[in-house]
Subunit: 392 residues, 2 copies
């Protein structure tokens, strides 16, 4: 069990104050650095992003835009309209562009869908990504279906079905794989569930972490996005930030019934992409880039799996099954999550995410992101040392 | 008077079809190039942007991000939240960051303001930027105050005052300088008008072209943005695309009463900047960059003024007074605006904007943007040749 001394406690209080000021999100690196110089962040294991995909994208961007002096035109001129970019995405994922709504990051789509499509009452599965309830206007009723720790936070769809029968919402949000639990619903069971809920106005499925999940030994890419053709109440939201490692570009899209895309674009969202997100989507629809991406995606999944195994071997913590690029861990030796996160940061420069502030997550939880191979090793060794365990 | 032959007429019909498909905006260069290869665009005089400011920004970006290999972190990591970026803007324009709402381009702010703040009935001065009415939801009543060609499209505020007294709107939109007329209201008369309309819920003033306007011989920067402190119903919207020549980055902000910023951010818009727009705002708040910018701004204004003078000397057209970086011209020799635009494009590669599709603009109007010195010269010579006039 980890305990802090008085000096550490003082620093921790300053750290917690910063966190409080940052709202429901972690304080940024820059804020941390300038406010508490005693802390040096060496590894940001809060940050949910495939670093190898960033490497790949930067390599292409360097070759396509920097060496050729082509960057200027992506910054100087207006990017294309929403539906022109949707056509590029459509060719990448073999879906009708008319069913694709492009967002300034997935976050803009979450806001648009929650505020413009959800009308009366929405069921949100907790714990989950907070924007799904934080962005709701006050006239919207939200009811929470809380995942059970005893079930490993696995979403039991038959129980959810009962919950929906009783609550009679018009809309439902499922994040798959879920954040921060990492819990995963198989494509078959999810589609079966959607099929049984044609009466709902909106079934919103956020697949922002789906590139890290797999159902076969070859780790082939999976998604229910094409099922929108069959289920017009289905809305599949996809962030590009995590899997492609490009959070700064703000790229995301959603698949939805074409009339819904039309309705959204009728009153706005025409010019919401930027030059570099448009460039990204031209790479996304380039089969050579996609081939290279598949290699780094699978490599990252393999390393992530190994990282998870090493975390599972630490006796002071309990881990929960994850199909995402992060693991939810629970401290079971009496250590407080805030003390763990703070001491790991102060002593080893490893920054992890406390789970206490997540609605529906009660206990000493921490979310740890998989990073590069070397960083993962350092994270494991740091946690082992923190608990007084021998190195691997 | 310019007339087209049969071959040109055929091409023009294809061109107009493209325009129709592009909605209320011009078809993009890329679309044009691939659809009508006979056309080679050499100068895009539709594009309202200071090219010297782009040069300056690219120079800084190259030094700060490319040579140092710092670009990656702006693309990989999440940009800061809305209010963190507002603080940078606040330091640049010496206003309270709490009164600054950052947008994914001004267009996102127009959408947010029209859809979330305007409640019942809005007066829009025509002709103007179409998004102000296109983004309105169907429950909003819009009444148009049409500018009079006989008054040189000058907005007569005493007439507008009468119009408002009769129509009883809750909101009003004024673009200053106005697009596409270029018409300008002096700071004094505009503020006097705002002072007399404290009963309106929203007075929305779009100052996206204000960096091209001036009221003294030194062409000092002007704005009514600080007047929001005195008039809580005032909302000043500012695009950065035109004056800083960075349309691809999507940067814009609005000044409004702090409680309104808070209300907008309560339910979204937290993460709507991208890495490069955040970088841009760090330059915007850098006094050395701003000094360099002031030089290119004033230089561009001087050249633009000279360009306008040369357009005014062409006898086949009538020009309207402009304080923006474009001039609205009217063909007075019987030539059709579409024929003029098309033949100037086909024969000289100079692309200009037909005004016919602009609500409230009836007649043979064309909007011509000022570009670089050399491009301006070519535009003037091309138009003169098109009309059979001697070169300057």
């Amino acid at each position: 069990m980890i305990k802090l001394n008085d000096y550490e406690k003082q620093l921790k209080d300053r750290f917690l104050k910063l966190k409080l000021e940052a709202g429901s999100h972690s304080p940024s690196m820059e804020t941390l650095k300038s406010s508490i110089p005693e802390i040096e962040v060496k590894i940001d294991a809060c940050f949910l992003s495939n670093p190898y995909a960033t490497d790949l994208f930067i390599k292409h961007l360097h070759r396509d835009l920097i060496l050729t002096n082509n960057l200027r035109r992506f910054l100087e001129f207006y990017p294309s309209q929403n539906q022109v970019i949707a056509a590029k995405i459509g060719s990448a994922i073999s879906l009708d562009p008319k069913s694709i709504f492009v967002g300034n990051g997935a976050i803009e789509i979450i806001q648009a869908v929650i505020q413009k499509m959800v009308k009366r009452k929405m069921v949100v599965v907790l714990p989950t990504f907070s924007s799904f309830y934080e962005f709701a206007e006050s006239n919207l009723e939200i009811v929470y279906y809380i995942l059970d720790k005893a079930d490993n936070f696995k979403l039991d769809l038959s129980k959810l079905k009962d919950f929906i029968r009783i609550e009679k919402p018009d809309s439902l949000v499922i994040v798959n794989p879920n954040n921060p639990t990492g819990g995963y619903l198989h494509q078959n069971e999810l589609i079966e569930f959607i099929d049984a809920h044609k009466n709902l106005t909106n079934i919103i499925v956020d697949e922002s972490f789906i590139h890290f999940a797999y159902e076969d030994s070859e780790m082939n890419n999976i998604s229910i996005q094409s099922n929108v053709n069959e289920y017009p109440n289905l809305i599949v939201i996809k962030s590009m930030s995590k899997d492609f490692g490009i959070a700064g570009i703000r790229a995301g899209y959603a698949i939805m019934e074409p009339s819904r895309v039309k309705e959204l674009i009728k009153h706005g969202y025409l010019w919401n992409s930027n030059g570099l997100s448009e460039y990204f989507y031209s790479k996304y629809s380039d089969s050579l880039f996609r081939e290279d991406y598949e290699i780094v995606r699978k490599n990252y999944i393999r390393e992530t799996k190994n990282f998870f195994d090493n975390l599972k071997n630490i006796p002071n913590i309990r881990t929960y099954p994850s199909m995402a690029n992060f693991l939810l861990i629970e401290l079971i030796d009496g250590t407080k999550a805030e003390d763990f996160v703070f001491k790991l940061l102060l002593d080893y420069g490893v920054y992890t995410r406390v789970g206490n502030d997540k609605k529906g997550l009660n206990g000493e939880f921490i979310r740890i992101a998989a990073r590069s191979l070397d960083e993962n090793k350092t994270v494991i060794e740091s946690i082992r040392l923190l608990f007084g365990l021998s190195p691997l």
